[in-house]
Symmetry: C2
Subunit: 324 residues, 2 copies
């Protein structure tokens, strides 16, 4: 059987996760990685797939079955999604929740002869799926999503931009008492502050003013002002040695009722590596994109549209026999 040929656009943490996830499949292989940088400056962490300039991609429509877009949601994907889905089946992990409907529309317009699965990480992605399943089977109830404990790239970056900061890592931490209240069926009303804590580990430049930096962090609107935030100053070496990994996780919970009876549904992830999990999920959805394109199921899709069996390397009859 011919293996599904995968291309990757952009090389960073998530792409490295995709490459690793690909090595755990037997039905897919990496054909090439495309980059806007000088290809010579990019080195894969594993495997020996060619690194090519992004401009070459267009000429490789016959060589690549699914293109996995690993660029950022802010600037890269709004351009790359519509551009690549015109010629390739694509998978991405577009994660600007509020802008997903507009992005979906733009990709759908381009994907007239391809299958394009957007927002296929774990949130959006698996967590979204759970929110849908939970609400569909227990319509009378409330769903809660908690994130962490894990590193938030966006919040870490926000701290790093503060003058005087050499480097920083921010952990999002769910509030245990809030989770317990949900599990107890209390259906609490929770503000941002009551759901998550924000723990910041910060290394300063020599001339920096500790108090000023701490104040700037804690008062930063959107990012920190609405949360209970702790700031711990550490040496740069400690930041790299103790906070250099990218763990994450979280949970989706629903407490729902059928009359007087209460039912709890809970899904949780504990991840050693956020980007490797995201890459693993994208690979499963790349398989689905390939299969759906073979059936002519074109257009922009989300995880909500994909029959689960399309995700697995195992044939449907074996899934039914072994897992149903």
């Amino acid at each position: 059987m011919n293996k599904i040929q995968i291309g990757i656009v952009g090389y960073g943490n998530v792409s490295a996760g995709v490459v690793k996830a690909l090595s755990l499949t037997s039905d897919m292989e990496l054909k090439a990685v495309f980059t806007r940088r000088d290809p010579k400056s990019v080195k894969l962490q594993q495997g020996d797939a060619p690194i090519l300039p992004i401009s070459l991609a267009e000429k490789m429509t016959d060589d690549i079955d699914v293109m996995i877009l690993c660029g950022g949601s802010a600037k890269d994907l709004p351009e790359q999604g519509p551009f690549f889905s015109e010629k390739f089946n694509i998978v991405d992990s577009y994660d600007t929740h509020a802008k997903i409907p507009g992005y979906l529309k733009a990709v759908d317009k381009a994907a007239t002869k391809t299958t394009a699965i957007i927002s296929s990480g774990w949130d959006p992605g698996l967590f979204s799926l759970m929110r849908l399943y939970f609400g569909a089977v227990l319509p009378d109830g409330d769903t809660y999503t908690f994130w962490g404990k894990g590193v938030s790239q966006g919040h870490s970056d926000a701290i790093r931009r503060i003058p005087g900061v050499a480097h920083a890592v921010q952990y999002t931490v769910p509030v245990e008492t809030a989770i317990e209240a949900v599990r107890n069926g209390e259906k609490p009303r929770l503000e941002a502050r009551q759901k998550h804590l924000r723990q910041c580990y910060v290394a300063l430049l020599p001339e920096a003013d500790k108090k000023e930096v701490e104040k700037t962090i804690k008062e930063m609107p959107d990012y920190f002002a609405d949360y209970n935030t702790t700031v711990t100053f550490v040496e740069l070496s400690e930041l790299f040695s103790k906070h250099g990994k990218m763990p994450h996780g979280g949970m989706v919970l629903r407490s729902g009722n059928t009359g007087e009876n209460t039912h709890n549904m809970e899904f949780s992830l504990r991840l050693d590596s956020n980007p490797e999990m995201t890459g693993s999920i994208m690979i499963a959805y790349a398989r689905a994109a390939y299969r759906m394109s073979k059936e002519g199921l074109f257009g922009a899709k989300t995880v909500f549209d994909i029959p689960p069996a399309y995700l697995s390397e195992t044939p449907r009859d074996m899934l039914i026999k072994d897992l149903l």
Copy 2:
């Protein structure tokens, strides 16, 4: 908008759960319940849908959009599944795991112009879905399923058939240390005895021999011999007052790796009422069966084949906006 017209075949605990779940939807309504018993002997726990003899069902193909089969997997469904799916879209919760492939085939043969979704409870059903998703995204790993704490109808019935037993309730209880080992990523090899305990509450008839009954239970092959089983004798009144509900639940866990990194995925249910949860899930899949039949997606399907969005009363664009 016309509501989806639901028929129910057979009236028992699960059907009562289906009726309750239907009352929580706004897009579906109960048209009729069909029974093999004397219709006058059946009384719905809620609502005022007509109770009709099962022989009338055939004449109501124009009145019913989806027929929900609530009969037992041992004797009822092997006949009713193929019979009803020839003329109606159906949903059932066929749960004899080992015989699912054969049953699927028989139903698929009949469902040439209908959509028939089989085995749509929580296990098989939601738990099966999780086993599939978990394995598809983390192929290098092990999945574990634990059940309980909850009442096992089959095990309770097995005890009730023992001479001298007036009534009995059996709880399946997961072994916490086994769950912890899985959560810790130890990937333990677990025998039946190491995963679940069996707690039996038994009321005896006056002439019964306690020791003999206890021995018969604990040595019963398949049901109890392979487990650590406790037997507690109680008064019949206590059995009804303290053990009269049907709670259940359980969890699916997977510990998987991407190279040296470990990821844990976990799905759990805690249910006040097993049949009401099963009924709620069947109702969501009835909605999917109706929608798929409108699109000509005929044949026997499982939860693995259903795009998640088909389950929800909420339109796809709102799901994408609110839940993705």
